[in-house]
């Protein structure tokens, strides 16, 4: 939990309501995000956890309105960032007032997230230039140096004109973070920002994100497929499966009292220190075909506790405790 008492925790900076983003292909429609609701408060980190293909990236791209075109379309829902429904905005407004300024992103792979043919100074400077926040070459240069210092890049003034290939993986991820925080957004989405890094560098990046959050009070969505990483950084966790959120709650609650069998399966697959040599548990079976998802619970085919009802009706979002929701027929039953 974020223990800092003066952090601006509380006000929601993001409210997502019944978001559906589908991908229309010639051979059918992929229901990549299919009725997702959650919120993120200022100064808080929400973990979005789930296996690959569960719709995490598509959810974050929907928030940025950067889903792949043509093909993908957000068919319904509401996405409120700082009180503004971004689904109502036109592209010009998104570019001018939203992306970078209200919400930004730290993308998955630091090795491919920077443009290889432009200097670091040029790329980080773009954030200032196109939002007209800083004018003039030298002023932009100063601003870039300043933001690179904030992500702890040593002597940035000497490395401004270097190109991405002259930076290490960890340093590149810091540059990406610098681009993301340059215009002080209210919300930041980090899409598996550490998956492609060494463990020690992972830890550094996670620490950095926490420090940035403390300084700025930015709301953070931290996407990962790794429950262990989520435990390290998140205040709350939303577990995603096959385009839907199946469980959401405080990080302690999710870890101590997981209510959805899928969450339980994910927790069982976390590697533990000292148990290295053992074969890692993984949930048997595969996620459903997202072009023809089952009408009942999407996890039914893999669920150890499956009942008849699960196969025919999608379970409603049941409140386990205040702030703890799970979409599972078992939840009501146990009470």
């Amino acid at each position: 939990m974020n223990a800092d008492p003066q952090a601006k925790v509380g006000q929601p900076v993001l409210k997502v309501d019944d978001l559906r983003t589908h991908i229309f292909l010639k051979r059918g429609t992929v229901q990549a995000v299919d009725g997702v609701s959650f919120h993120v408060n200022a100064g808080e980190t929400l973990g979005l956890v789930g296996e690959s293909g569960s719709g995490k990236s598509m959810t974050s791209l929907s928030i940025l309105r950067l889903i792949p075109k043509p093909g993908a379309r957000t068919v319904s829902g509401r996405i409120e960032i700082d009180g503004i429904n971004v689904l109502d905005l036109d592209e010009d407004t998104m570019v001018r007032d939203v992306r970078g300024k209200l919400v930004s992103m730290i993308s998955q792979d630091p090795m491919t997230s920077l443009n290889p043919v432009f200097s670091i100074g040029d790329q980080v400077g773009a954030a200032f230039r196109f939002h007209d926040l800083v004018r003039g070459r030298s002023a932009i240069r100063d601003a870039v140096v300043n933001v690179l210092q904030r992500v702890r890049i040593p002597s940035p003034e000497r490395r401004l004109d270097d190109f991405p290939h002259q930076y290490s993986g960890g340093m590149r991820q810091r540059v990406v973070a610098a681009m993301a925080i340059a215009c002080s957004p209210k919300l930041m989405i980090a899409d598996e920002p550490t998956s492609n890094l060494d463990v020690t560098i992972q830890v550094q990046i996670i620490r950095l994100l926490r420090e940035i959050q403390k300084e700025t009070g930015v709301g953070l969505i931290f996407i990962t497929h790794d429950m262990g990483v989520a435990a390290n950084i998140c205040d709350r966790v939303a577990v995603m499966y096959a385009g839907r959120i199946v469980e959401i709650g405080d990080v302690e609650t999710i870890f101590d009292n997981p209510s959805h069998p899928y969450t339980q399966g994910l927790l069982d697959s976390i590697p533990h220190l000292g148990r290295r040599r053992e074969r890692l548990y993984s949930i048997p079976g595969n996620p459903p075909d997202m072009q023809n998802p089952p009408s009942g619970c999407r996890f039914a085919a893999r669920c150890p506790h499956v009942m008849d009802r699960c196969r025919s009706e999608y379970p409603p979002e049941a409140t386990v405790a205040p702030g703890h929701m799970a979409a599972c027929w078992l939840v009501g039953k146990n009470e």
Binding site: L64, S107, N115, P116, V117, A126, F130, F163
Partner: protein, 304 residues
């Protein structure tokens, strides 16, 4: 960097010398004296001429003499024009360079917008139109494009001169005829590179921090597509330089290509040799320039 440059220049020199040896050998397969003398020339006259031109010596010796003279800038006199061959070619070189360069500019002026917009508006009517247009271009040899242009633009409409080299007007149609063909290949290549780049993480990252679409497309993405484009450009430019003769003949363009072709028909060896040598030099220079441009276009490519 300097080492690399020296190595490349040496390689170029070897290619040029090789090209000169090949054309020298090929041109000795035939005897020019019969063409240079009247039909009723006596065998003595023929033998005299052969001696005067040095054609009676063994071919290796002839070649060494040629090389030795060439190093001193002496390529001999054209049989036909009876003037220094080098001067004749140098006189025509600017016209050929001008034409090839104009052809390249025309090709780029079409291929860049076509390729970029086809990628941005993938599968739209524009994309299909560009595809069709490019296919048409590739299906038409340049002499055919040239003849069509002369027929419609010069003969029917009377807008542009059909031949000669006088002012910008006379350059337009030959440049189009020459530049038409590569448009298709360049458009397709640019389209597919742009599709890849536009789908890349760094483009998404740029968009995510609010970089406007036009900057993402025309600056960020296009610069990434520059290396393969310049490679292709180099190949086609070299081809245009050596392949310009067809267009030069059709439009009576006073270029080097036309002169070399005429020299070939006239068995005018000295002229032919200089012409081929210059084609080879241009080829090598263009390739070297393309290579050097990589370092400028892509900071990851360093020659050290």
């Amino acid at each position: 960097m300097l080492n690399y440059l020296i190595k490349r220049i040496l390689q170029g020199v070897i290619s040029i010398v090789g090209a000169s040896a090949i054309i020298f050998a090929i041109s000795r397969l035939d005897d020019p004296t019969l063409l240079l003398l009247p039909i009723d020339a006596t065998p003595e006259m023929v033998e005299n001429l052969r001696q005067r031109l040095g054609l009676d010596l063994p071919i290796v010796q002839q070649y060494l003499i040629f090389l030795g003279n060439a190093l001193q800038g002496d390529f001999g006199n054209s049989y036909r024009w009876e003037q220094p061959a080098l001067a004749l070619i140098l006189d025509r070189l600017p016209a050929t360079l001008e034409l090839a360069f104009a052809g390249l500019v025309f090709a780029l002026a079409l291929a860049i917008p076509f390729g970029v917009l086809s990628a941005v508006y993938r599968d739209s009517w524009f994309d299909n139109f560009a595809k069709l247009f490019a296919m048409l271009g590739q299906a038409m040899p340049n002499f055919w494009v040239g003849l069509l242009l002369i027929l419609f633009v010069s003969v029917n409409l009377g807008w542009l001169p059909a031949f000669g080299r006088e002012g910008f007007d006379s350059l337009i149609m030959p440049a189009i005829a020459l530049g038409w063909y590569p448009v298709a290949a360049m458009t397709r290549m640019l389209r597919s590179t742009m599709l890849d780049v536009l789908d890349s993480d760094h483009v998404r990252m740029a968009r995510a921090i609010g970089v406007p679409n036009r900057v993402v497309v025309w600056k960020y993405a296009l610069r990434n597509a520059a290396v393969p484009l310049v490679t292709m450009l180099g190949i086609y430019f070299a081809n245009m330089l050596s392949g310009a003769f067809v267009v030069e003949v059709i439009f009576a363009w006073p270029g080097m290509g036309r002169m070399v072709v005429e020299a070939m028909f006239a068995r005018d060896f000295p002229l032919l040799q200089v012409g081929v040598l210059f084609s080879a030099i241009l080829f090598v220079v263009v390739n070297l320039l393309v290579d050097l441009s990589y370092g400028v276009l892509d900071p990851r490519i360093r020659h050290d």
